[in-house]
Subunit: 233 residues, 2 copies
DNA sequence: CAACGCTAGTGACAACAATCACACGTTCTG
DNA sequence: CAGAACGTGTGATTGTTGTCACTAGCGTTG
């Protein structure tokens, strides 16, 4: 509401690579047009099919992007962290939201309305370039994921998932994590498969000493062989 | 090379909805920077992994976009017609081409280099908006396709494909086509499945009087029931 | 016309995954 | 502390799909 709040929003927006190329004035403009919204863990942020007129940048917390399959199973498409943005597509083309997003932890989001962004867009060609880059990235990721889902078997997809979940976020230090705490059901929902099959696969890998399963943790022991599995044997 | 050639390119570029919002001057600029290239049926236009520095708009002909799966099977992602553009992604972000494209018929393409477009982009904010729209569309289509592949069974995907192949192109009249001539192997490669299974499925549909198979043609008899199948029973 | 290539049709079998069913432990909670 | 809720480990069954094998028709071409 005041200068202090705006400063904070500017900083939060700066965390997203989309906006870090803007000059101070443009960032200030964006901050003026945007607002901060908080969600508690478990809250729905938006739902598939709703008209979407805004995008969100995550300042704090984690959100989960999901969809329901035709057979009504919920699958997790992605978990997003601070610095990530979501809802861009619906905002940019003014169409329906194409997924569900809910807060996994308490979250602080910076919300940007369609009208506001279009406005700033007009005066800042650099911002369009950033958006175009973002979208290209999205297209590439989607296409890749599509091929994976269509043509890799469960072990390969699961291996890919484990690797993806354990790369260090760009912000932090370099070394990949070795432990994860996701439940097997969660893993299953992320690769569009069942808990049972994920379990059987993980067991096999434990026997083969690729991973360790200990009191709820999954520990990666042989990253290289997982990489090999991820590329179809 | 001369005014005549440029006029032609302008017209060809105008066929793509991306460029039809430009004013004459901008279109003229683009025409100056672009060039026409012809390919014979069967020619490779570009290959996955190559560095990509240009995009193409189809003026005449049909091209096929394919990929190789990890297990080395070639799948058809899409067939594109006059007015469609391809190669945008690699051009826009300067990364590798993410698919193979080959000419299905003799083709006339208008090629636009990355540098040229970036140049025009700077002076024509409207063009960025168009590109952003195009990319949004791409993202939505990819995501949709991903879900389809992951969670619909063969009959549903095949039904979807048949419906997609028989909607009239936006340019032509309204009524959906009823006949197609794609071979069953082609259909299989478009839905990431085998010819044998496509065949079995089509046979069943013929018995159920959903379609007719006659001397190489596939004739749709009951579009409504196909629509039903396409949405998971 | 014989040989070849391409498309279509179909049966047999194996591999994989979905589903159901159940047992076991932990942790949370009334 | 009892019981619910959840995560985990596994077996049995069933259905779908991929692979292989073989047959057959049709058109091109040498």
């Amino acid at each position: 509401m005041n200068t202090d709040g705006d400063l904070k929003k500017e900083k939060l927006l700066g965390k997203s690579f989309i906006f870090d190329a803007l000059d101070d004035q443009a960032r200030q403009e964006l901050a003026n047009f945007s607002y901060v919204k908080r969600y508690a863990a478990g809250d729905k942020i938006f739902t598939m099919g709703e008209p979407g007129q805004s995008m969100m940048a995550i300042a704090e917390g984690t959100v989960r992007v999901t969809m329901f399959t035709p057979s009504d199973r919920e699958v997790t498409l992605n978990d997003l962290q601070a610095g990530d943005v979501f809802g861009e597509i619906a905002m940019l083309d003014g169409q329906e939201r194409s997924a569900n997003v809910k807060a996994l932890t308490n979250c602080t989001l910076v919300v940007l309305e369609r009208r506001a962004l279009l406005d700033v867009l007009q005066r800042n060609p650099i911002l369009s370039v950033r958006l175009i880059e973002l979208l290209c990235q999205r297209v590439r990721r989607s296409d890749e994921r599509m091929i994976e889902i269509a043509f890799l078997d469960l072990p390969a997809r699961l291996a890919k998932l484990l690797l993806r979940l354990t790369v260090a976020p760009p912000a932090s230090e370099e070394k990949p994590l070795a432990k994860l705490s996701q439940s097997q059901s969660e893993l299953a929902s992320m690769i569009g498969n069942t808990r049972e099959n994920v379990n059987r696969c993980l067991r096999k890998w434990q026997k083969a000493e690729l991973i360790n399963l200990q009191d709820g943790w999954l520990i990666i022991r042989d990253r290289d062989r997982l990489e090999a599995l991820a590329h179809g044997e």
